[in-house]
Assembly symmetry: D3
Homo-oligomer: 249 residues x 6
């Protein structure tokens, strides 16, 4: 169930039997010459909907702009600063908490979000505690990165080996091809692709990775692969959500 | 064209002939017993895509959480505080500005966003100016509220008269029915509906408007009406975008 | 009664029978070649004092610097950024709320303040709610723009027609002439005056409106007109304050 | 000259021969059973106008709400938090700096402002420096506390000895009596008055100083004294402003 | 060389041949019944000094309070919120950058800092970029966690196996015993120690981990072990610093 | 007792008989050609430890970076902006308050910190009050500047007369020589030293005070003097801490 397609009375009823919610978070950033700018949000949203169907959980609106400052030297990238994203998540979760939600399960499509999202969780717990909100000690947040699931990772390695790379990867491109089979892009891709440079600021990133890819060969992606990734990710995160929601401590 | 479905190289090319972009902004908030929580975002996004098709403009990712603090006593509502939304928009637009965008056309689906979005524009102009960014004096932002277009407004009056109300209106509900014909909700609606109370804080709002509607009768909505609203809104905002993009001063 | 001219014990006594307060808010900004930089604050303060006399309400200190970023390319303008003004108003009202005030009636002299002041109200309600302050759900804020009162507006139209314009208007200049008859300015005013340009950033504003006026002819102003505007505004806002203070919901 | 009573063109002309400006800063806070809540702002504003007349300097609008958190347990007090006041002063001065002002002379009426105003100056210099504003290294700010001038202080000691105290003092009350001879208050004042307690939080302050006075006997004040204080303060601060404005380094 | 023991002229000279600096960052937080509250800062500082000696690099003052919100239910813990730590690091690094430093090598002693420190780096790069500081694209930051070095990790596993745990570990306790042999603590330690609970808010953490240890047996620590850890960590991080400082891109 | 060398259980026990804590605060800033960059932190920390030994009070970790923006034109200086330092101190003290500490005694080594630290105290009291924390009205903070103690001051005058100056003073340099006898610096010092210039921004400061000294002759310092200053400061601040901790109001 998508929160956007429910009424408030349906949410009220849902809260009588569950206090969990799934929050997809992606990014709006360059994904190389053939990857969609919305790749990370598209993947996170699609998988979240699959997990929502499996578990009956509500899926909140996708956080489609994340922490992608290092990609901002490429046109089309939109990024929040970490402090802004922390405040954004604090407000977002506080609204849901006041309504009765207590378990927040983020399905994440972008590695660059992880640090700031984790910092947001710390800030949020402390915010609730400082405000003396009742039952705030029961609140739990978790970030699950679909691309780091064990089986997803193994499939990527099996299909692509080292050509999976770490950004604009064939696995994420494949997943977007599965979701949007009509917008599969083609563009010349250099055989040799930059790899191994640490990530610093935006200008340095573009110098190091001139076409935006990080060690990847997204030309290997196919919609059929994407379907496989989708199904594995949904399977793994369904189990992960169910574990998360069932713990008491 | 949706930004999320483009590559960065396609954006780079687009910027050689246009510096305009359309940004849908909605909200995640209660819309009465039969209105979808995502109503405002759904309407803004759908209309923005229509305007994008007409004009060839890029449509950026929908800002799906806005300023809806007064609705937060109803479960399912998610809101940013005004200061957070201002920082969010500042970061969002600064990223686009650095890439070369200069004309930002917001298509808005939620009256409660207007004040904060206008404040954001002022803050953003000043931010660019203080940072000494080149050409920042050419930046222009505009907010266009689809529901306040002349013809849209007249159609709503013609179809619903006073039962249009001002929140959870049949016109916006109709538009979501057009977009999502499979999620048309039904729920008992009191004949008498609260109206005319000024808006203060969230608890007061719920006391004044116990089912969330403000003077509206969304039972009058039909998907066919929705189609009409959609087409009128796209027509009006297409013209508005073209005007906006063509001005030099 | 002006708060500045009371003792704390007089305020304590006042709070036993009223929880309302009037807050004048203006701006410090250019008002064309003949308008005073303090025009908006002067008008708001003067009218607030008149309303205070009529109603016995306390008038708080004038917020004399507001949101005037678009005027900052003209010397003498002082502006807060919207986020600063929101924090300012939050602190200002929180102090009064802790003492027992609950109804905050802003008398505003500057159109550019409206968006940010409205955003401030939303932020303030939420702040009180999050802090778990007792009785915070009873708090109500209202902004009343003296120049938008029905009778004031009609008088301006009657006296000046289209030459009223929308900034550095003869009506506001007249009111300052009534308050400060000894500082009536004269300066050459071009017959033709810029009008109709949307408002973007500060540099653009000055290019569009080179002498600061927006479609107005302040040469039509007289102190006698000012007296009429003053009296009408006080009459209208006295009624508005009394309504505001008497509502329970 | 008061900035509020000038036009922007007059300011533009002024800037061709001076880059100095006087900024009165006071507070809105309890001043004991007979002192006006606006005492600090009234004194600072009045003296600033006198100095402005003597020197031909522009006097900016009075900052009438300052840092008075420790007085907020008394009704009528309004205070900013230090971080808010710092941002407020930063915005205020940045506007003036962009227009060409470089020397900012604060005339202060409230001891509690001093720490935060000094911190604001540091923050402001750094802000200009970080923004790479041209000539920002020429900016100079100074805070002058009228009640700490040598001759003012001596007069207070001569007239009142230890009964001057340190808050709600007869000297400041006298000055307000001189400015507002029609609002001289009378109320019973305990012979014994609290004194010597360090200042901590607001509740503690009210416990320590139950009627708001700190070791003072404001019953000794007279309008004639007030006139003397006014004249001495204007004399001392006129000299101080002239020194400040003439220094090159 | 410790920055605190240099003069500014020595720093000026250093900058003619190096633009690198080492910044130890720890935490002030409970470390179980026998671990020092300053463990993480003590370890980071000691190792940083060793690396400084090996490489001739300047070691900046230790950031001794970090992100430890989840430990704040135990007395003695001091933590910053993530947004505060981000601003702190931004200011800290901006000062050094203005003087000419460009390569910032953090030696970290606390796992809980990692997310926020990484977010800080992103914020800092963007800050420099937005400010248009010259050469800001050359800035590079790196966080090196001494306890995650390959050889350090292997030694911990060899000495302690699973009893290393993940907080209040024997390895870090050993290192503090090596540094402060006179403050070795003894206290009863339950045989069974909590382990495996995810980290949420502070109260939940203390419920899950009642004595503060996470799966560790610090009773195994000895000062001799500490010496070994120290030497390995210095060796590994010396190499890491030299690599970092020598890269051009 | 240093907090860093305690366990949380020792802190828990301490809190059963005392709620006081000593917090050393210094700075990282140039101290002339022969003064250590860490002078202010070194002095504050050393003296705090002495007072801690005399009184049995816990000494918290040294705040080693303070408000030194005016020194940032000299390499090696690190400064927080005032708003950052205020948030830092708020977080720092809130953590300790939640554990049960109520009396916070700052031992300060840097004049430039005083304004911002005082502002921080105001902000902190208000923060606790707004959060409705129990017993927050009992919280008390005090800043004690070791170099302003009566006997310390007299000794400095006796030993150095006017050559004490006001920054990079022989007294503080002597104290660091006493603490670090092996890092006594020598460098040519001009006979004539700048003095008397007010402090504005960083660039102006360096122009006025080209070698960083303010009217001082640190060549007069000796480790023996340093020992005397240390002992006097510890004696004076021991008494001051005991007074502070014993007051009830
Ligand atoms: Ni991706
Ligand atoms: Ni709506
Ligand atoms: Ni006006
Ligand atoms: Ni006063
Ligand atoms: Ni540790
Ligand atoms: Ni010093």
């Amino acid at each position: 169930m998508q929160l956007h397609l429910l009424t408030w009375q349906e949410v009220e009823k849902y809260l009588t039997h569950s206090n969990g919610i799934i929050i997809p978070i992606g990014s709006t950033e360059q994904h190389g010459p053939t990857g969609l700018i919305g790749t990370d949000a598209i993947c996170a949203e699609k998988i979240a909907q699959g997990v929502g169907e499996n578990t009956g959980a509500i899926v909140a609106p996708t956080i489609n702009v994340g922490m992608a400052l290092h990609h901002t030297a490429f046109p089309g990238t939109i990024s929040l600063r970490p402090t802004t994203l922390i405040l954004y998540i604090q407000d977002y979760l506080t609204s849901l908490f006041k309504a009765g939600f207590k378990k927040f399960f983020f399905i994440n499509g972008h590695g660059g979000n992880i640090a700031t999202v984790k910092a947001s969780f710390s800030q949020f717990y402390d915010h609730l505690d400082s405000m003396n909100f009742a039952n705030s000690e029961q609140v739990k947040c978790k970030i699950a990165n679909w691309f780091m699931g064990r089986e997803v990772y193994q499939l990527a390695k099996k299909l692509y080996g080292d050509e999976e790379g770490s950004h604009a990867t064939p696995s994420e491109v494949a997943l977007t091809q599965f979701v949007y089979p009509d917008t599969i892009k083609s563009a010349p891709l250099d055989k040799s692709v930059a790899t191994g440079h640490p990530i610093y600021g935006a200008k340095n990133f573009r110098e190091c990775y001139p076409d935006g890819r990080m060690g990847s060969n997204p030309a290997l992606a196919t919609p059929e692969h994407g379907k496989q990734f989708y199904e594995l990710a949904v399977k793994e995160l369904t189990a992960s959500y169910q574990d998360f929601i069932s713990i008491n401590n």
